[in-house]
Amino acid sequence: MRVASTIARELLIFAATLLVTSLIIFMVVNLLPGDVAGTILGPNADASSIAALRTTMGLDRPWPLRYLEWIGGLLTGDAGRSALSGQPVLALIGPKLAVTGWLVTLGMALAIVIAVPVGIAAALRRKHLDGLIWAGLSQLGMAVPAFLAGMLLVVVFAVQLSWLPANGYVRLAEDPGGWARHLVLPVVSLAIVQSAVLVRYVRSAFIDVLGEDYFRTARAVGWRFGSAVLRHGLRNASLQVLTVLGLQLATLFVGAIVIENVFVLPGLGSLLLSSVNQRDLPVVQTIVMIQVALVLVINGVVDLVARLADPRLRAEATEAGA
């Protein structure tokens, strides 16, 4: 019962958050000074043709109406039409989703695969040279922008060694081998930077666990060090790491935008940037809304899972709800 009411309350707050977010996005894009119709027609356009374009684009109507139309359309699966090509926005976005989806999920997966063992090693060996080297590498990885890592990888593996393509994309259904070859460098460059940040959290979560009483007790009653680390360490550190993963998600999406640009991948990020340059506002606001909503949804789920899994947080949540 308590759990159910907690979930209901969270859902309500969550819906309100999404509404506020969509309002922020709409207002920034539509209400800041800067006339779309004027920009599209160029500096030499006369006032009457600008006014005519504003009418055809629906820009002369009051903004609350336009906002409601946009948000209502989004909910019913119609986000309006591109100001430039006239195509439905969602039809433009659809084919790009797979590219960005692969990039982000594979990047996140590789980052976890790298960061967990490295973070544990850095924690266990923190008083030794190798542990310090791992921690130092993580510091270095955090200081390098993902797009620079991407370009350096291109120089080595595409330009010098010619092992992998420098850019472009092939659909998975067309040619699985080519698909994989085109994704290796983008995924690796995204994962390097993400894992550098993650290593830091895995390391400190594990150092915390190693100092806890239950860990010392497990050791004292004769558990081998390795199994104590796996049983207690991994389980207790995983919640902390899960929360960080959720928070990192926004950075991952942003990283994907930049990486798609480096490797000329036809994903959401490329579409977003070209729409910004052409001032295709309906496309821009819808893509940003989709990304932000995804980040919020996944973080909400992570938060809920963490609360339900951790008895201490669960007690706090029901107490706050009472």
């Binding site: 958050t17 800041l32 922008p145 370009m151 350096l152 330009v159 100092g211 926004a250 942003v254 930049v258």
Partner: protein, 274 residues
């Protein structure tokens, strides 16, 4: 060992600051001066780090880039701190329910990284500039400052001296000034250093995508964008701006970690028994 991090961080930041100061008064060449005959020249006595694809002197651009990097960092972190810290203090001193509501609102901003905000601003304004980049980065750092200030304020408010101050009739404003602000200053300082590093990374990314610093201004991210055209002929073009971005970010990160250890007595004692 911890000391070493602090020293290395200070040294890295020092290098960038010195470069920025030098750029205020002197650069070997005009960083925007195009000389087509000198394009992609190797490093030499005349051009310490060589020239780029337009024949512009890379060393001069790097010097000016240091100034832009610090300028963006200072302005955007100032925006984040000046909005976020009061918000966090307010949330920390307000009764529980109101405090939680304020933090909820600030947390919404976590879903808007600097890059997305800058993209929205660029789309709305029709043009991008260092100004919009600084605003976008600044706003995106607000929630981190608010969260740090909130946590620290709550622990200060639980102390006996705050109860004593209340009992002796000092108002909330007075407590915020005399007790809270002074006691949360260390954690805010640490956050400032960390945010500075993130701001530099964000600015580099924005300039690389062409929605930050204007093309004629030699920001380090912009230099990387230009270098991308010569990945095949002159891959070394990547190295210099990339290296200085890494040095600057690493410096501020190490400085933040070092300050955290130096300023937090709890962590300092923890080091001895661990």
């Amino acid at each position: 060992m911890r000391r070493a991090g602090l020293i290395a961080g200070t040294a890295c930041v020092g290098v960038v600051v010195v470069m920025a100061l030098v750029a205020l008064f002197w650069t070997p060449y005009d960083p925007g001066q195009v000389e087509a005959s000198q394009a992609l020249a190797q490093p030499s006595a005349a051009h310490l780090f060589g020239t780029d694809g337009f024949g512009r002197d890379i060393f001069s651009q790097l010097l000016v880039g240091a100034r832009i990097c610090l300028q963006v960092g200072i302005v955007s972190v100032a925006i984040g701190a000046l909005v976020g810290v009061p918000l966090g203090i307010w949330a920390g001193m307000a009764p529980g329910r109101i405090g939680r509501a304020i933090m909820r609102v600030s947390d919404v901003l976590y879903a808007f990284p600097a890059l997305l905000l800058a993209i929205l601003l660029a789309a709305a304004r029709g043009s991008a500039s260092t100004g919009t980049a600084m605003v976008a980065i600044g706003v995106s750092t607000v929630p981190a400052f608010a969260r740090v200030a909130h946590g620290a304020t709550r622990s200060v408010m639980a102390r006996d001296y705050v109860a004593a101050a209340r009992a002796s009739g000092i108002g909330w404003g007075g407590i915020a000034r005399t007790h809270v602000l002074v006691n949360i200053a260390p954690v805010v300082l640490v956050q400032t250093s960390t945010s500075f590093g993130l701001a530099i990374l964000a600015e580099a990314g924005l300039s690389y995508l062409g929605i930050g610093t204007a093309p004629t201004t030699p920001s380090w991210g912009r230099m990387l964008y230009d270098a991308q055209k010569y990945l095949y002929q002159a891959p070394l073009q990547l190295l210099w701006p990339g290296m200085f971005i890494a040095v600057a970010v690493l410096g501020f990160n190490l400085l933040g970690d070092g300050l955290r250890d130096a300023l937090d007595p709890r962590l300092r004692t923890g080091r001895h028994d661990d």
